[in-house]
């Protein structure tokens, strides 16, 4: 069979042209409507994990009243098990800058920011060197769009877009109430497009190849390719660009160590898929979405420990602002400990499942809402490991 192996793609990291910033120079000659139209046609959805249609985000921001608008690149890659943005920023930063510049042109922003994860400070010197080149090029092609890099300080919550704005403004990184959304009220209260690093590279891909060719990759709901960060019990951990919409069993066949019992798709805030469901699980927005993290666990791993580790992470990284997230995370962690120790009966897990559901419904931001994903999928699928 020709497709025993998953299709490898080399669009994110591949070179498009020998001439630096050629795609950008070509693209800014196009009318904004044409760019938006191509984006819409491509079906591109945000690569950070939530999958909001990029064209719509740009369109709303372009339409929002106000002369001052911003483009922000979310490079706060904090999701456990994700390390693709680091690679993108190391290898193809020019594509990221270009994608941001195109966004700036479309929405009418003159200023862009890269919010770089504090732990990625080591990337800074090289990025700043590259930025110099970008600014020279932008000048030479008559593009009025400058980019600045802001460093985070290591809080997971600052990857949440509105907390990220707060952090950029010099405030405590706490999510805001929504609505209003960034498209009308973002950085400094101005209309802002905030996209993941990879999304901006995808823009370049679409501008280079055209939406039709982009759409040939992936499925109806999940167009294009995606960079995956593969980690855990795998002999070939690393970064892979694959087509979206792949079935999980084939992924495990290729990346697993032959004893994979579960895959955590989408990091700590994602879902845990057990072996028996590999076959029916599609990686994409129609199935289990991911910002790129794929963690494989073999049968030597205790899923209780995995979950406990995630919950400790959330307990620490919650901003502490809203009740469901701040207290809920503590209750879930202590709750499974109590069941494990026998201080609480196993039925208490049901109570905790309901609590996690309430957290999903009521937490103020994506962090608190997504704790239930890993909690309920691990507890549901590995209940006996939680108790004994």
């Amino acid at each position: 069979m020709s497709d025993t192996k998953l299709k490898r793609v080399d669009l994110i990291f591949g070179e498009y042209s020998n001439v630096k910033y050629k795609v950008l120079a070509d693209t800014i000659k196009l009318p904004n409507d044409k760019i938006l139209e191509d984006l819409l046609e491509s079906g591109l959805r945000g690569r950070g994990g939530a999958g909001f249609p990029t064209a719509m985000k740009w369109k709303y921001t372009a339409q929002a009243p106000g002369d001052e608008k911003y483009v922000v690149c979310n490079a706060d890659e904090g999701e456990p098990g994700t390390f693709k943005d680091r690679e993108i920023l190391t290898r193809v930063p020019r594509k990221v800058f270009s994608g941001m510049a195109i966004c700036g042109k479309v929405i009418g922003a003159k200023k862009g920011f890269i919010y770089l994860r504090g732990e990625y400070k080591f990337l800074l010197p090289e990025l700043l060197r590259e930025l110099e080149g970008y600014h020279e090029n932008a000048k030479s092609i008559g593009l009025d769009f400058s980019i600045e890099i802001r460093l985070g300080s290591g809080a997971y919550i600052c990857g949440e877009e509105s907390a990220l704005f707060e952090s950029m403004e010099g405030n405590r990184g706490e999510p805001r109430n929504k609505p209003p959304y960034p498209t009308t009220f973002g950085y400094l209260g101005k209309p802002t497009v905030i996209n993941n690093v990879e999304t901006f590279v995808n823009i370049m891909m679409i501008m280079r190849l055209g939406p039709i060719q982009f759409k040939m990759l992936g499925t109806t709901d999940s167009r294009g390719s995606k960079v995956f960060s593969v980690s855990g019990d795998t002999p070939i951990a690393g970064i892979y660009e694959l087509e979206l919409g792949m079935p999980l069993d084939r992924f495990v066949d290729e990346f697993g160590d032959g004893d994979t019992k579960a895959v955590q798709v989408g990091g700590a805030s994602g879902f845990c898929v057990p072996r028996k469901k590999f076959k029916d699980t599609v990686i994409g927005f129609e199935g289990v979405p991911t910002g790129g993290s794929m963690m494989l666990f073999n049968s030597s791993r205790s899923m209780y420990n995995v979950l406990h580790n995630y919950l400790e992470f959330f307990e620490e990284e919650s901003c502490g602002q809203c009740t469901p997230c701040r207290v809920g995370c503590q209750q879930l962690r202590k709750g499974i400990e109590a069941v494990k120790k026998g201080d609480k009966k196993s039925q208490y897990l049901e109570q905790l499942m309901k609590l996690s559901e309430s957290m999903k419904l009521t937490a103020k931001c994506g962090l608190g809402q997504s704790v239930a994903n890993s909690f309920s999928s691990i507890v549901y699928n590995f209940k006996e490991e939680m108790i004994y």
């Binding site: 620490e316 207290v327 202590k334 709750g335 609590l355 809402q369």
Partner: protein, 604 residues
Amino acid sequence: MKNTKKESIKKINLTIDGIQVSVDEGTTILDAARHLNIHIPTLCYHEDLCVAGNCRVCIVEQEKVKSLPASCATPASEGMVIHTNSMKVRLARKHIVELLLSEHNADCTKCYKNGICEIQSLASQMLTGDHMFLDLVPDHKYTIDMFNTAIIKDDSRCIRCQRCVRTCEELQGVSALGVAYRGNHMKISTFYEHPLFEVVCTNCGQCVNRCPTGALIEKNYIDQVWDAIYDTTKHVVVQTAPAVRIALGEALGMPPGKIVTGKMVAALKRLGFSAVLDTDFTADLTIIEEGNELLTRLKKALLEKDPNVSLPMFTSCSPGWIKFIEHTFPEFLGNLSTCKSPQQMFGALVKTYYCEKSKLDAKNVVSVSIMPCTAKKFEANRPEMRSSGYKDVDYVLTTRELGIMIKQAGLDFEALPEEHFDSLMGASTGAAVIFGTTGGVMEAALRTVYEVVTGREIPFEGLNITAVRGTEGEVREASLTIEKTKPEWKFLEGVELKCVVANGLAHAKKVMQDVKDGKANYHFIEIMACPGGCLGGGGQPIPTNKDIRTKRKQAIYEEDLGMSIRKSHDNPEVQLIYKEFLGHPLGHKSHELLHTHYTPRKRY
């Protein structure tokens, strides 16, 4: 004009619990529900503050939306269908309240706020009898900061709603309280977790007024006062501030805006105080001293052309404001009036003049004050407030603490007769009463100053200088041109006296910044630390909101109008004390007993 404006506001139609309602664009779901008398429980929400959306207690179900939005933070949108009490909402809300309780030190019977605690009443409403979740309190290391003389902060009772943080930042511009750490360690703290007395906290107590639980409370001195009352060797004198008499009723189940002066006096007598006197007396005295101080400064500036005179002059009766300026604008301490606050003038006179006249030994006299204020507790403990040779004011109780004492004594407050203050430092005027509201000191001062300078009453109908009557959330500027002066005040002829009135420290900060930047050219500035002035003080009954404060304000002006004497210099006891004891305003004895100095403090 009005009509067109109305038309421009878009109307939004939505359905809440099956009832259709039309509201202005921008209205939140919570407010829309309140229009319909549907009560959605809230906790972090407070009318005076910006919306936080933290506690998530006010969640509702919105059809076709997966999550449950917080009704306080979500604007109504066209065609929205909302359920406030669906199965989903009830379970989620119960979970949230249970979560809050699981990290709250709920030993209610030991709590000062027992009975008026918002999480307690929510818990009883939701019937959270069976503890659904694990008790997290024993695992946390909580701090209790009780080093301050005015406010106690007990983190074990904190539910992290951040009302206090918003109050301190938005209303007061002080930001002594902030959020520290993340996740399970997140807490409300101060600069580097220093105790409150070591940071910029002004002790204004606005956070205490808004804290839904017992996490922020005043340091109470109720037992000490009872001990003094029961001690037969002690003569216990009590003074009551102007803003107490219009708010005390609220602490005892009466509606806001009731004047309870007579009942309050009756209650204090029944509690066993030896003499029930009135801070109003020293409020009038303040006006005489402060008015003369202003005139002296104006004379130095205008007639003697002294370049070193400190103008504008700032009022000094609000101890929260004093600590604020000491921290934030210490370079302007010279501009503060050197007059002590009425409370401290009173204290100094109790242990001198009053003892002399009543033939008492000051060491056997205990001086208690009832104040709408928490900062007064700090003020009474300042080292410079011992000019009588003793601590001038021994104990400061808030309006709330008096309410508690009255309940403890089993008095049926509403049934009490109206009684009068004792004489000697018990006489009052309308000018003194309005000290309790923003703009009051200014108005009282102008009533006197104008008359001193011109020999005529101030030319406003009914002596009501409405131009300086401050409004909450507003900096009020006014000017008064002085005409046809007496010969000795000729240098003031035609001078336009420029005044400004501000309440709430956030507004005070603005005024001060203008003064600092040289943008403002005022002569006299009145500042009250609390929103609305003392009537909105940090020691007043809880709850507080704009409606309640407006009613208190109306009551104060009503009380002013009802007084037979409306000007401070007409107070017979004030005239008497100058004749018998003080000599003349700004005289030697005044300086010794009624004036003070200030201490520059650091921001951190």
